[in-house]
Amino acid sequence: MASIVGAIGVPHNPNFPELVARQGLACDTAQSYQRATAEFEILRPDAVLIFTTDHLNTFFFENLPIIAIGVDDEFAGPNDEVPTVSHRKVPSIAAFARHLHASTVAAGFDLSSVQEFEVDHSVIVPLHFLSPAFSVPVIPIFISTHIAPRPTSRRCFAVGETIRAAVQSWPEPLRVVVIGSGSFSFDVHGHLSPPGRLVGVPDPAWVHRVGQHLQRNAICDLINEATPEQFSRAGNVSGEILNWIAMLGTIEGQKLSWFKPELEFGNSYAVWR
């Protein structure tokens, strides 16, 4: 039987690979990702599930699923600009993804499936740091967290719970690590960015509060507060916290073993194992 052995929450800023290449391994972002990578390696995953949000690169307004799962034996990315990171193939496990898809639909969640797809920086940047050989199979689960109407936080947590049950009903003994990808407060090209700037962190207090909830394991409080009204204050990509909330739904028994906020960028790093 497959099992979820740990969960890792990370940001996916597309400039982080270039920033680390330029500033070196002593910079904060490099240090944070090195720690997360060390934890990832301790978990020895056979497969990764990543809850993530496409930035209108894989999907577009003609067809914009609320939640979708990638079902294929490989995919490629990034299909957007990620300085210093080359386009590459990533292995996946179509049979396992198909099982997760069928199980979640049977449980009442209407996930779309996508085949022959590419992914953007929201998948490739976490993998660039955590699994730089890109050798561990990865199954992306895309949640539409940027564009209203978003799924509710409660719904995302429930999807995570259902994915956990689906993983546990897979007969092969896979060690599965779940990644939640994204920021808590960030605005890209919107009116909440600071004057004269194209990006910014509009609500650092929310980043701090999310961190408090995670460290107290107050997941119900986090779910209750992660509302459309909160996202309207925290920036136009702040709904990415929903990827973390879905990840939290997959956890059963694992404890928070490491947490590091990065207020400058409106995000945090965390590991449960």
Binding site: F60, V188, H189, P195, L198
Partner: protein, 93 residues
Amino acid sequence: MSIISVNHLCRDVARDRELREAFLRNPEEELAKYPRNFTATERAALLAGDVGTLYQLGVNAYLMGYLARHGLFGLTGEVYSARVRASEDAKKR
């Protein structure tokens, strides 16, 4: 409703360097050649770099910001920021 055409244009110029350079050289001509339909309001707003109007019309900000990042339609980061913020302030009044 054709606002999706503006969204397509923003993504296309972000991804396609040749298209972007053509728009930088001659925005009016390239907009006329672009294979999607725009309303008169959208066309005028694009050519004027009036991202405030486009923002209120519902163009996705994540995509629209690429116009400023690449200096299209006379936009800079500062100009873009000022226009988007002003349009949101005006909406609240």
